[in-house]
Subunit: 190 residues, 2 copies
Amino acid sequence: MKRALGPNDRLYPMPCPLVVSGTMAHADALACAWIAVGGATPPTIVMALRKSRRTLELIRQTGEFTVNIPRASDAAVVDYFGLVSGHNHDKFAESGWTLEPAAVVSAPLVAECPYNLECRVLSEVDNGSHVLVIGQIVESHAEESVLDENGNVDVELLDPLIYINGSREYRRLGEKVADAFTAGTSVKRA
Amino acid sequence: MKRALGPNDRLYPMPCPLVVSGTMAHADALACAWIAVGGATPPTIVMALRKSRRTLELIRQTGEFTVNIPRASDAAVVDYFGLVSGHNHDKFAESGWTLEPAAVVSAPLVAECPYNLECRVLSEVDNGSHVLVIGQIVESHAEESVLDENGNVDVELLDPLIYINGSREYRRLGEKVADAFTAGTSVKRA
């Protein structure tokens, strides 16, 4: 039996990267759970940013941003990036987290985040309270310590932070339950 | 030390809902990991669909769709929905999963998925290989068995399926690591 809960903005689960804009000299960042891959060719990111965000102002100035996946163990720092505004806080100075130069774009990477995407804005879509920013992924980086012997990201080693809205909590990834593009082959009924 | 991995379409982690379009009499569904909340006012979903998808054709016919969160234990069925095409498979007949009427939109809900969103298309954005579909969330539903005593979704009871691209695996949610909008208050350095 199901219960109607009304319109809401909950999807389960959500990633929780830090989105960074600006430059090495003057950067801002926010925690953004409303973000997804937007396409394969070219590879893109789509994310929803509240219109008042300082990070959005800087994205508009440079046309570039980075997406930085934090470890689950760093939930408190990520939460801090979501709690205060770049309009009146230097989030990096206050948190102690550090920036490092990206390879292609002017927006820096977060050194403490073990996986990072570099993005260049393709377009913006007005979406009510939020703006959808669509950015092409032009480079990615991972810490050597989260790569397996084939040079691919090992998600157990990455231990990415997860956000749950509604109950407003951070979680880590749990156990593997199946292989994709394999588990389904046994499902079809005769 | 970080290693550059080139442009790619990986974000960690991703949700893995079934998106359903059409009607009770003629529906199709696909597994969509490239999906996020797109805004708060109005509440919206944004998702990337490959242009050839039968589900997209049906969304364009009716202007409506549903988003259905599966349990981690149902990974094999969800994988099946991603493996075959609605152009030549009746995925519901073959999987044994069932549809139930939504409250507001013509697109049905997946009965076996314990959390469901009803959506009405606001716009489409061409995005290369994919189309971004932006839909307003007009109703939501949850199984009574995944609600806590206050009528809110308990994510431990929901046990939502998670998709990891790159390594192409399904996982479940792990342990809670922090409370959001709380953990960060201790971070600011003097």
